[in-house]
């Protein structure tokens, strides 16, 4: 059963790679470090590197820095290979990067809303302090080709119904604690600019929107996670409000390919949105999931709030990403949902 899943993931990686024909050549022989490498992004990048090395003789060396590397290794034995180096590291503490590395991805920020609520200080230390440590580590490398900060579209989103462009600056009441996460992302981007300017580090930013697929932890209380869990367990799919809130979703292998493309081919100082193209409301996602699951769960709309007319849609304007780097999705929502259901079913229904 798990062999199939791994095979599927490999095939998905190849599928996404097909849309970036130059990428394999651009990645060949490279030394890459992903900080926060045991999360969703790090794991998908590891899958990609493995397949590129195995299929195309990529000769890439990938270093993954993370807090729970031991646990990650037991969960992904097929990714424990000579070309993937694991190092336990908490980013809140100063650290070093492999000397041979020339390409760095910072993906260690905490995006779980329940941690934002319960431990905002840790979020600040990780998102801001962590990237500072990473940039310092990068500045000590003999050669730095690029430092990619995986930031978040939430840094500049607000209450909106429109596609969020990279040029959005957005108004943020930074005095309120509930805006701490968005503020931490902004500050992190500022810190990256400082190192870009003062220490001449070639920094590029990717603003992540919503990702989906295997390797996503189902525990963080995002709407999509709740819907998937409800669908799998056969519980009613509970949607807060009227379900009109819209998102777009980018599948894991596409996300990994896009980020690697930005890493090797992006421009210094530029910001690229990374997210799905297909805009879809919560109720549409719920209906799609319901149809895909044998148990065909009911959709239940929970109470509508008095502030229901304020919309918090969250999806990117991808025109710049497309025009500058030709970033396109290989996988649509339907496949993303199918994969997610297959993946999480194994865990939830155990």
């Amino acid at each position: 059963m798990s062999i199939n899943v791994n095979k599927q993931i490999k095939e998905d990686c190849l599928g996404s790679l097909k849309l970036q024909p130059d990428l394999v050549a651009q990645l060949k022989d490279q030394n890459i470090t992903v900080i926060g490498g045991t999360g969703f992004i790090g794991t998908w990048i590891a899958e990609l590197v493995a397949i590129v090395n195995d299929t195309f003789d990529g000769n890439i060396i990938l270093e993954l820095l993370g807090r729970s590397t031991a646990v990650w290794a037991t969960k992904h034995p097929h990714l424990c290979r000579d070309d993937i180096i694991l190092r336990a590291q908490d980013v809140r503490s100063p650290f070093g990067i492999r000397e041979e590395t020339t390409l760095i991805i910072y993906a260690a920020a905490i995006a779980d809303p329940s941690i934002h609520a319960s431990d905002p200080y840790k979020v600040y230390q990780t998102n801001v302090g962590g990237i500072e440590n990473a940039l310092r580590a990068a500045s000590r490398l003999p050669i730095i080709a690029r430092f990619l900060n995986v930031s978040s579209g939430l840094a500049v989103a607000g209450s909106t119904t429109e596609a969020i462009s990279e040029r959005n600056i957005g108004i943020l009441d930074f005095t309120r604690i509930q805006n701490m996460y968005a503020q931490s992302r902004r500050t992190a981007e500022s810190v990256a600019s400082i190192f870009g300017s003062q220490y001449r580090i070639p920094v590029t930013t990717a603003r992540a929107f919503t990702f989906i697929g295997p390797y996503q932890s189902i525990d963080a209380p995002w709407a999509i996670n709740n819907f998937i869990r409800d669908a799998i367990t056969g519980n009613d799919i509970r949607i807060r409000g009227d379900g009109s809130t819209r998102r777009s979703y980018l599948y894991g292998s596409d996300a990994a390919v896009w980020l690697l493309k930005i890493l090797v081919a992006g421009n210094n100082g530029d910001i690229y949105n990374v997210g799905g193209e297909e805009v879809i409301s919560h109720s549409e996602v719920a209906y799609a999931l319901s149809k895909l699951c044998k148990k065909n769960p009911k959709i239940v709309f929970t109470g509508k709030s008095a502030s229901a007319d304020r919309k918090y849609d969250f999806f990117p304007d991808l025109s710049f990403s497309k025009s500058s780097l030709n970033l396109n999705q290989a996988f649509d929502m339907k496949l993303s949902l199918e994969r997610s259901i297959q993946w999480h079913s194994r865990i939830i229904l155990k």
Partner: protein, 296 residues
């Protein structure tokens, strides 16, 4: 060559740092390693200022420095301790577990420190802060009336003394405290309650124990509790009786104690954190004394 018991402290947050200061003050203990994951933490800076060896390699540092360590205080988290214990056990060291991981034997120094030291048990669990405050009282009552139907402890602590780890682990706190209450008092059933009080200035830790007993002998209970309080104050100087054993409704004995912290690293109102640290140091000192006796 020092005769002191060589202690490593794993976890450099508030608990670990407070432990460090207590260990350094002890005549019987010394801290040979202060290990965590974050050099930037205040604890690390404090340790450096005190001249203690520090490391950000966590459990791996324990492995590296195993030859200068006898006992490891684990002040990290339950999940982390579960990963650490096999390593510590493999090195043949004693673990004093400050987390609710419950892998080892419960220890309340006033009750079973000697027994623990003598038994050769290597994983010593310090239960919870409410447990350290209430279990000895429960045991003192049980010594007089050993037919306790039900025992309950309700602790109130200052909101400021409860960090994210405490708040995320209320259930574990409750369950571990209840298990310890039953074990040490023989009660048929137990209940633990924890209340966070946000009052400013912060309130001192307070714990009330209720015991349901048929025909409680209040005179004997008073004596037993007083004797226990003497034992506890040996290692928790700030432990005091607030409401002496009082019978309510004929068959319920109620006692309230207050715990004022030492103020070593944590503020004094955080008696809840202080008591579990005092207890841990207390049992470590008993281990040290035992070792010295064996050696002499």
């Amino acid at each position: 060559m020092s005769n002191k018991l060589r202690c490593a402290i794993l976890g450099t947050g508030n608990i670990g740092t407070d432990l460090l200061i207590k260990v350094m003050r002890s005549d019987l203990l010394e801290c040979t390693l202060f290990a965590g994951r974050n050099f930037r933490s205040e604890g690390m800076q404090k340790a450096t200022a005190l001249g203690v060896n520090i490391s950000d390699k966590g459990i791996n540092a324990i492995v590296d420095k195993a030859d200068v360590i006898d006992v490891v205080f684990d002040a990290t988290s339950a999940a982390a301790h579960i990963e650490h214990w096999p390593v510590i056990e493999g090195l043949g060291k004693i673990a004093i577990d400050m987390t609710p991981a419950k892998l080892g034997s419960f220890c309340v120094p006033a009750i079973n420190s000697q027994e623990i030291c003598g038994s050769g048990v290597r994983n010593i669990n310090m239960i919870t802060c409410g447990g350290q405050a209430s279990v000895p009282i429960a045991a003192a009552i049980a010594e007089v009336n050993n037919n306790i139907e039900y025992i309950e402890t309700a602790s109130s602590i200052a909101s400021r003394s409860a960090g994210p780890a405490t708040r995320a682990n209320l259930d574990e706190y409750i369950e571990t405290t209840e298990d310890a209450l039953i074990k040490f008092s023989g009660a048929e059933k137990a209940k633990a309650i924890l209340i966070l009080n946000p009052a400013n200035p912060p309130v001192d830790m307070q714990t009330t124990v209720y015991a349901k007993i048929k025909n409680p002998d209040i005179v004997k209970i008073n004596a037993s509790v007083n004797a226990m309080m003497l034992k506890i104050s040996n290692y928790v100087p700030g432990y005091a009786l607030l409401v002496p054993p009082t019978v309510i409704n004929d068959d319920i004995v109620m006692i309230t104690v207050k715990v004022l912290g030492e103020g070593d690293y944590l503020p004094r109102y955080a008696g809840n954190l202080d008591i579990i640290n005092c207890a841990a140091v207390g049992v470590a000192e008993d281990i040290a004394t035992n070792v010295l006796e064996l050696m002499s």
